[in-house]
């Protein structure tokens, strides 16, 4: 009955709107597109705010089209179909897919009315961080934002205390009047109406900062926020003087600890680990008005309430602190008073030029080789070298002596072009024969599992291999999609539709040229369609069962749920153990998986002291930089990561569960 009534009601509303619209009188339509924060997060989806002002009477119905271009190439085309503009101001929020290398992004706005031709509403450049900049964003949530109610200056300015720049001190050449020119943190102020209802929408932000009790958020918003934090996000809450039950329950649910462990009366900040993400609860009274200067959001840093460096380090996932002599060469101007801080657990791109090529190029290149379709094999280089050598010999000495013997050396002007052409055609023909296999590329899917076996996030790396030059299209729902740069494939890609709810991503594929895409989904099965086997993860919690029980349960679970080839790996206390000798996936995959987990760490070992799984997790962004994929460390005693790898045909699925020592879940900073 419900399924029948709902479409009917929608139809009725549309008919009413159309009827109203038919009676509209002429008016002027103005519009603009801006990013939600003044500068968006680096290497993350871009949140946009489309503002349309209609001064005619009645409703104006039509499609809103936003075209995003980068260096004059189309990047994204968003169409909101059947939008009804009422008289006055109309706001629409949307997201644009991540572009890792684009620094010149331009938005063009059009309105296509039901009747009549498209109205060009002009365009504007979008403030995207350049390659020299690192943009951070904090989603600042408060029930008063967007309601028209007066907002106290303190509410606007609290986010200043969380800014990334407070952790770093840059020398005069990269900062101006104490304000960084390379590292920039900006807020996106949101009230209840605009606060994201889908966990994917949170991916545009590094940190979510809620200044009041959470009671102003509805169930859907709280669920999406929880899912995002569990997938690796960072939530900062200011502890109200009298926290509500809902607030306390929310925190207990986040940390998954007994109520006795949560002491909200603490005078210090509480750092809580929540699956792959973390929650920071600021101490009570931190936001007291007398500690703040009553100005707007452009408050000077010196007037913001101070947070200790270790609290900021927790928020921004700093790995550790090195002394300046250890890292002065690598850091290029980011210096703390007591030493040097390396953000992101050791990777030094922040504040300097982002070195995207180093990690993701290597990773994409490795994946390109490993995920090629079965049967696709290049001509060995030895054969090519042999053909070329023969060609040189024929064109040089053989031509000279044989034609000389025949006293017809002048024929070299015919023989030589013929030989060159024949050799080229030979290689082309050989290649055509050898690569005349048409099979799809393979994929590897990494699914992070949380408490009760719920999926936290899914990252899928898929190889697309074309046998002819064409445009490859993929449809996605609630998914962030990007292309990994591989160095050999610089083809164009763009997206259309409603991002990230439903969109079609198109890739220009060259002949026999592999392309690896990354797609990321956050949330449980209901929201994101992530399928997970019913593994009894609780029976293999290494912190609650004995080692022997753990091993036997693990093998049992692996055999039940991985009918084909499988592999189990455990990272624990600095030792990499392997279990399950039978049906082991070939050594190549074994090595590959080790690389996948430790490559990031290994490449930057010189920067690392005490890396742990959380040190390498950025808030989810779905970008090609892979900074947001959790990676394990062999040195952290508080973690055990159990990984089950299942091979299904050519595809691999990796299920990972990170167990944390319950005693280390909440700590005071």
């Amino acid at each position: 009955m419900k399924s029948f009534v709902e479409p009917c009601l929608r139809m009725l509303v549309l008919v009413l709107l159309a009827a109203t619209a038919s009676g509209q009188t002429g008016g002027v339509l103005k519009g603009s597109v801006t990013t939600v924060p003044p500068l968006v997060r680096s290497r993350a989806p871009i949140p946009l705010l489309v503002t349309l002002h209609w001064d005619g009477s009645g409703f104006l119905i039509g499609d809103i089209k936003v075209t995003i271009t980068s260096f004059d190439e189309p990047v994204f085309e968003h169409i909101t179909e059947g939008a009804a503009l009422q008289q006055g101001l109309n706001e629409f929020r949307m997201m644009v897919p991540v572009r890792t290398t684009a620094s010149k992004v331009f938005a063009q706005l059009e309105f296509i009315p039901e009747k009549g031709s498209a109205i060009d509403l002009g365009g504007s450049p979008l403030p995207v961080p350049t390659r020299d900049e690192q943009g951070f964003t904090i989603l600042v949530g408060s029930p008063k934002f967007g309601t028209g109610q007066p907002v106290a200056a303190t509410y606007r300015s609290l986010w200043h205390s969380l800014r990334f720049e407070l952790l770093v001190h840059e020398d005069a050449s990269v900062s101006r009047n104490g304000i960084s020119r390379n590292v920039k943190t900006y807020p996106a102020l949101m009230g209840a109406r605009d606060f994201p209802k889908d966990p994917i929408e949170h991916c545009a932000y590094d940190v979510v900062f809620l200044q009041d009790d959470i009671s102003w958020l509805d169930e859907k918003q709280l669920t999406s926020l929880t899912q995002w934090v569990h997938a690796g996000g960072c939530l900062v809450l200011s502890n109200p003087l009298s926290p509500s039950e809902k607030f306390r329950d929310f925190l207990l649910q986040m940390a998954n600890v007994p109520a006795s462990q949560l002491d909200l009366s603490s005078k210090r900040s509480l750092a809580m680990h929540s699956e792959l993400g973390r929650v920071l609860v600021l101490p009570q009274g931190f936001a007291a008005e007398d500690s703040l200067h009553p100005t707007d959001q452009h408050l000077p840093i010196s007037n913001s309430p101070a947070l200790p460096a270790n609290v900021l380090a927790f928020i921004w996932r700093f790995g550790h602190i090195l002394n300046s002599s250890q890292a002065s060469d690598q850091l290029d101007r980011i210096v703390l008073p007591n030493g040097v801080i390396l953000p992101n657990g050791g990777v030094p791109p922040i504040g300097i030029i982002y070195q995207e090529n180093e990690i993701e190029h290597g990773f994409a290149s490795q994946l390109s080789g490993d995920l090629l379709p079965t049967g696709v094999e290049a001509i060995p280089l030895g054969s090519i070298a042999l053909i070329v050598t023969l060609f040189i010999l024929i064109s040089g000495p053989i031509d000279y002596f044989v034609l000389g013997k025949m006293r017809r050396r002048v024929f070299t002007w015919i023989v030589h072009p013929c030989v060159a052409l024949a050799v080229t055609l030979l290689i082309v023909t050989l290649t055509n024969r050898r690569l005349a296999v048409e099979a799809p590329g393979r994929k590897i899917t990494i699914i992070d599992i949380g408490k009760d076996g719920r999926p936290l996030s899914e990252n899928c790396f898929q190889l697309h291999f074309a046998y002819n030059e064409h445009i490859h299209q993929i449809q996605h729902k609630n998914t962030l999609v990007t292309r990994l740069p591989s160095g050999v494939n610089d083809s164009k890609w763009w997206a259309t539709g409603r991002f990230p709810t439903y969109h079609v991503t198109s890739f220009e594929l060259a002949k026999w040229s592999p392309l690896v895409t990354r797609s990321m989904t956050i949330g449980d099965a209901e929201n994101s369609n992530i399928e997970v086997p019913q593994i009894e993860w609780d029976t293999i919690d290494p912190f609650s069962v004995s080692d022997d029980t753990f091993s036997s349960h693990l093998l049992e679970q692996a055999k039940i749920h991985a009918s084909g080839e499988w592999l189990v790996k455990i990272w624990r206390r600095g030792k990499l153990k392997e279990m399950g000798e039978a049906n082991l996936i070939p050594k190549k995959w074994d090595q590959y998986f080790v690389d996948l987990e430790s490559d990031y760490v290994r490449r930057h070992r010189r920067f690392l002291n005490e890396a742990s799984i959380f040190d390498h997790v950025h808030s989810p962004s779905g970008s090609a930089s892979l900074e947001d994929i959790p990676r394990t460390s062999v040195d952290d005693d508080d973690f055990v990561v159990v990984v089950l790898v299942v091979r299904d045909g050519g595809d691999l699925t990796v299920y990972r569960r990170a167990y944390r020592n319950p005693s280390s879940t909440i700590s005071e900073l």
Binding site: S368, R409, A420, V488, A510
Partner: protein, 557 residues
């Protein structure tokens, strides 16, 4: 009727082309060049594409497009760099030998002469391009490249060769001497192919424009071939026109004429503003001593100080604008632009010094004045020394814009005295080195064209090869400790200039763990001392060799 038929048959038989091709086919050198080119091309290609080759076959897929682009770029660069040099002497050499009149007396029409000379001149380049053709197949086998792209790439190369060849032939038909044609081909070629392309948009004049724009669209590439072929035909038509009109063009020092015109214009302007003369023209005053030097300064445009100052003025103004802009913005990019200005200025100065040095004696030989000079009581050694002294003015003038940029960079680098000292040392050491090296090369050549060509080619190789080869080997990392080969780049005169502007000097000996190289001062100063000592010694050797061998080489025929 018979005459017409005979001429028609003669044109079809293409005697000049057949003669040219037969001679080349019978020469062992043709095949050696073919093999040498193939080894160089495929060797360089293997080094450049080493990264693609070193990874697994699977990961290599898709690299074909990049490899093809690289190969096409190399071939296009080869065409633009070498084809003008190969073809600019096709007609001028006949003029210089006085054989052009003889050819015109035969049955071969002027039109047929042009076509045959054109095809004959293109033959060596086409041979080389054919040697490189299979690289398209190799790139195709590596994926990422369609068959259409293979065809359009080859089309772009052939069209470029035809176009540049016709352009060079036109210049050759116009000019009186091969050296003039050589200089004109490169100068006008740069303006035509690159300068005008910038103005009109690439792809309009440059044949490979369509290829770079849309390599996989065959129709677009074929359509873009039409204007290219039309321009090629126009060049050939003009070649034919110039051949007839300028077969017996009288000898004129056009550059000197232009300078005299410019001088008059400057003097007119000067009269408007007080008529102050810093350098007075001494007119026809005869010298008391150094007669050769006096003659050089009077006769040559590039030796007269007032001409040089006036030539330098616009360059200096441009440089000052660059420096001013860079200082105003105080940004890394501006600094980078200044570095580029330093490199461009160095290239211009090196080219001027090389041309002056290598044609010091060959110029006298070609104009048949060397014998007259040798009859004078002046020692041969003194002839070379005095002629060289006249070129010194050019060096001093060239110093001005280079010093201006250096001072700008010094300021941008926060008064980096070390940078300025190294910069000054480069002038002191490399100016004489380049000049005396060119003199030594020129002494061994009979024609000015060959002298310039050899000197420029050798200097270019000397500057580029140590850097390119060492960097390529180090980047390939074929064995552990290969970084220790890095100091070999110091054998290139360009290495210190580039290191001072961009690289820094720490890298050369950082791989060595000897106690002497542990400190930063040793790492920085040692490469500089090594490089300048080596090149100063070489400059002294070249100078003494040139002066000493003047006794024997000047009289050699």
């Amino acid at each position: 009727m018979n005459i017409h038929r005979r001429r028609y048959t003669s044109e079809l038989a293409a005697p000049l082309l057949v003669k040219e091709l037969t001679e080349r086919a019978n020469r062992q050198q043709t095949y050696i060049v073919r093999v040498a080119f193939a080894l160089l091309f495929y060797g360089a290609f293997a080094i450049m594409a080493y990264n693609e080759f070193s990874i697994s076959a699977g990961s290599r897929f898709g690299a074909g497009a990049e490899i093809s682009r690289l190969a096409i770029n190399v071939q296009l660069a080869g065409i633009f760099l070498f084809l003008p040099a190969m073809m600019c002497g096709v007609i001028t050499s006949e003029k210089e030998r006085g054989t052009l009149e003889l050819i015109t007396l035969t049955d071969v029409s002027s039109r047929a002469l042009i076509v045959q000379k054109y095809l004959g001149g293109l033959a060596p380049m086409i041979t080389c391009l054919l040697m490189a053709l299979p690289i398209n197949g190799v790139a195709y086998a590596m994926g990422g490249l369609s068959q259409t792209q293979v065809i359009t790439g080859s089309l772009a190369i052939v069209l470029t060769a035809l176009n540049v060849g016709a352009f060079s032939l036109m210049v050759s038909a116009y000019c009186r001497t091969t050296l003039g044609a050589f200089a004109a081909a490169y100068c006008l070629g740069t303006i035509w192919y690159f300068g005008l392309s910038l103005v009109c948009g690439s792809g309009v004049l440059l044949p490979p424009g369509a290829y770079f724009y849309r390599p996989s669209e065959l129709k677009l590439n074929l359509a873009s071939a039409i204007p290219t072929l039309a321009i090629t035909a126009s060049f050939l038509f003009l070649s034919h026109k110039f051949l007839l009109e300028r077969a017996n063009a009288p000898r004129t020092n056009q550059l000197l004429k232009w300078f005299q015109e410019l001088d008059r214009w400057y003097q007119d302007i000067n009269k408007q503003f007080g008529n102050v003369q810093l350098v007075k023209d001494r007119g026809n005053d005869l010298p008391d001593k150094h007669p050769i030097r006096w003659r050089e300064i009077r006769a040559k445009a590039m030796a007269k100080i007032q001409y040089l100052i006036r030539l330098m003025l616009p360059v200096e103004v441009i440089v000052i604008i660059f420096v001013g802009l860079a200082n105003a913005s105080r940004h890394d990019i501006a600094g980078h632009h200044l570095e580029m200005v330093v490199f461009v200025l160095w290239m211009i100065v090196a080219a001027l010094l090389t041309v002056q040095g290598s044609s010091l004696i060959t110029g006298e030989r070609v104009s048949q004045t060397l014998e007259v000079l040798l009859t004078t009581p002046i020692p041969r050694r003194a002839i070379v020394a005095e002629k060289a002294a006249a070129v010194r003015i050019l060096s001093f003038i060239a110093l001005v814009p280079l010093l201006t940029v250096a001072l700008g960079n010094w300021y941008l680098r926060f008064y980096d005295n070390f940078y300025l000292i190294v910069h000054a040392l480069t002038f002191l050491v490399y100016f004489p080195l380049i000049f005396w090296f060119s003199v030594a090369v020129g002494l061994h050549q009979k024609s000015r064209y060959k002298g310039v060509l050899f000197a420029v080619g050798l200097l270019f190789s000397w500057c580029a090869l140590p850097i390119v080869l060492t960097s390529a080997i180090v980047d390939m990392h074929p064995f552990p400790g290969v970084e220790k080969l890095r100091p070999l780049t110091l054998f290139s005169p360009a290495s210190v200039i580039i290191a001072n502007e961009e690289w820094g000097f720490e890298q050369y000996f950082s791989a060595y763990r000897w106690p002497a190289f542990t400190g930063p001062s040793a790492l920085i100063y040692f490469p500089i001392v090594l490089n300048f000592t080596f090149h100063t010694a070489l400059a002294i050797v070249f100078r003494s060799y040139s002066l000493r061998s003047a006794e024997t080489r000047l009289a050699a025929r």
